[in-house]
């Protein structure tokens, strides 16, 4: 059940006087696709950075399959089966695109799981093919457009063979058509199956996104945070009808 997979309990993080994340609790099930939304500066990026161990939480618990993730190093957390794409794509600019992904393929988890595909080049290529930038494989990553950088982020993350994939604004910088394609690929990945030589059991996903119309079409459940606090949790239909959420996004009417 949900409790056994990812469970976040009363997570807090302060930057000086600013409560970036305050008492946030939620859970994600093994086969769920969850949207994480909130206005700019709400603390979404901070929250997922806490989950991955990039930032150190002040208090709270993060249980993944019953094990506490807080205090672990990012690579240990990735070995447990989490993966993250960055909001501002951070490629290894001077390395070829394929080398960017090969780094993930060299991680202990990825190299153990894909043992039957011998060459890590082919595994990296599969991830690039899934993300749709296989034709750029040998170009340096600094040549990529903003949209392609987002795809590279996705390729790098899925090459870690995650069970829980966290995407920080994966549609940012993509055109409407590209957004549609990316949404469809993510949905397909979530269902699992074979993509070329890539075999996926279908990771659970947390997707942070501002393009709500696209997001609402693909997720099962939405978590809303505002000013670092949990505002609402529910199905996409419930969330778009929730007056508190509308207020947080559009602002309170002054009367």
């Amino acid at each position: 059940m949900a409790e056994d997979f990812l469970q976040v309990e009363r997570l807090c993080k302060r930057f000086g006087g600013l409560h970036a994340v305050r008492d946030v609790s939620f859970s994600v099930g093994r086969h769920e696709m969850v949207g994480l939304i909130g206005p700019n500066g709400a603390g979404k990026t901070t929250l997922v950075r806490l989950l991955l161990g990039i930032l150190r939480a002040d208090s709270g618990r993060v249980l993944f399959r019953g094990q506490n993730l807080l205090g672990k190093k990012p690579w240990e957390i990735v070995s447990q089966g989490l993966a993250l794409t960055f909001q501002n794509a951070r490629p290894f600019a001077r390395l070829p695109v394929i080398a960017n992904v090969m780094v993930s393929c060299l991680s202990p988890r990825a190299s153990k799981r894909g043992e039957w595909v011998k060459k890590i080049e082919s595994r990296a290529m599969d991830a690039l093919e899934f993300a749709g930038i296989a034709d750029m494989a040998r170009e340096p990553a600094s040549c990529l457009s903003q949209g392609d950088l987002k795809r590279l982020e996705v390729a790098r993350a899925i090459a870690c063979e995650p069970d829980l994939l966290i995407l920080d604004e994966p549609f940012g910088g993509l055109s409407p058509t590209e957004t549609g394609l990316m949404a469809k690929s993510l949905r397909r990945l979530h269902k699992g199956g074979r993509f070329g030589r890539l075999h996926s059991e279908g990771p659970a996903m947390i997707i942070i996104e501002h393009k709500l119309s696209e997001l609402m079409k693909i997720v099962d459940r939405v978590i809303v945070i505002n000013f670092g606090e949990l505002l609402a949790v529910g199905t996409p239909e419930e969330i778009v009808a929730n007056p508190q959420v509308i207020e947080a996004y559009i602002g309170k009417e002054v009367d």
Binding site: K73, V78, L95, A99, V103, L106, I120, C160
Partner: protein, 350 residues
């Protein structure tokens, strides 16, 4: 059987070395250095080449740490000096022969690498550079505080020779240089080096890609320490004196000049840099008053026109990259030697 092997070696030689002009030049230079003692017995020249071989290993080890992994140390002489002193002390105080003291010196430098990786795991960028700058100075302080053991300011002398004859020493150093730089080049083109590159570009992303960056950073410090330490031990046995100058700040800065002049992130670039700059500086001794000025002028002017280093500049001039498979080709070719793509019109490497 023998004919088959010979043919295979010849084919590999053609494909790997003759196909690329820069490799051909490096190979020719290596052969020329090997033949040098046969055509001249100018002891001064042979001595310069032999010393340059030592510094070449030292400079290449710097490239492994700074160029590849982006750990900008300003105290690379730590490795060189600690190995030189270790080799010298073991040789003088315990009478150990060179074939034991040289690896022992390198081992001491590996331990120093472990030590230097501690600040590198905690602080980054200029903070690490400053911390690394302090390390050889601390060691030098220790050496001055135990003059009875370390010889203090005078250093240690009377270390045993590498080989019985001058020519023997020359070949020993030259071949050690070939073996050690080839080893470093192998490391630099391996999977592991891919992670070193990535750590230089963005360490956080490497961590989030599931790589234990602590392990790899320690690894690169130890690797670089090992090779720099080999250079230091060889230096002790070749010069037969070891003084505080091996730990001097100049030793750390010189290697940066050699490396950048030759071209970083290549391994062979710093080697080329040493073999050009070191003899140049030595032969400028004929005009002692102008020596440093002319040397600095040459370095500055060269870097003004080839900021990416001399070896990369020559590579750009003589070779072109195939736009499709990214293999390098000699500049005259109209199509790629690997994938036959037309490269007549495309731009040069870089």
């Amino acid at each position: 059987m023998f004919a088959y092997l010979a043919r295979k070696i010849w084919r590999d030689f053609q494909g790997e070395i003759l196909a690329l002009p820069t490799r051909t030049i490096l190979f020719a230079a290596a052969v020329a250095l090997l033949l040098l003692p046969l055509v001249t017995d100018d002891a001064y020249l042979l001595r310069i080449v032999a010393t340059a071989s030592i510094f070449a290993v030292y400079a290449a080890s710097w490239d492994l740490l700074v160029g590849f992994s982006g750990q900008t140390t300003l105290g690379h002489s730590l490795f060189f000096g600690i190995a030189a002193y270790t080799a010298a002390l073991l040789n003088l105080r315990f009478g150990l022969p060179a074939f034991l003291t040289i690896p022992a010196g390198a081992l001491a430098a590996v331990l120093a690498g472990l030590l230097l990786s501690l600040p590198a795991l905690r602080v980054r960028g200029p903070y690490f550079s400053l911390a690394s700058l302090a390390m050889p100075i601390i060691l030098m302080g220790l050496i001055f505080s135990f003059p009875g053991l370390t010889g203090g300011e005078m250093g240690l002398s009377g270390i045993s020779r590498l080989a019985g004859t001058r020519t023997g020493e020359y070949y020993f150093l030259l071949i050690s240089m070939f073996v050690l730089t080839l080893l470093m080049w192998k490391i630099a083109t391996s999977r592991t080096a891919l992670i070193f590159h990535a750590i230089r570009e963005d360490e956080i992303v490497v961590r989030v890609s599931g790589i234990n960056t602590t392990y790899y950073k320690i690894l690169v410090f130890c690797c670089s320490g090992f090779f720099a330490g080999m250079a230091g031990s060889l230096y002790a046995h070749f010069l037969r004196v070891v003084g505080p100058s091996t730990l001097d700040i100049m030793m750390s800065l010189q290697v940066i000049i050699w490396g950048i002049f030759g071209g970083v992130v290549t391994i062979y670039g710093p080697v080329v840099g040493v073999f050009i700059l070191y003899p140049l500086l030595e032969y400028l001794r004929i005009i002692p008053d102008w020596r440093m000025l002319i040397f600095a002028g040459i370095v500055v002017v060269t870097l003004r026109f080839m900021p990416e280093g001399i070896s990369n500049k020559f590579q750009d001039l003589l070779e072109r990259q195939c736009p499709r498979c990214k293999e390098r080709n000699i500049f005259m070719r109209k199509e790629c030697r690997i994938c036959c793509t037309d490269i007549g019109t495309c731009s040069r490497v870089g």
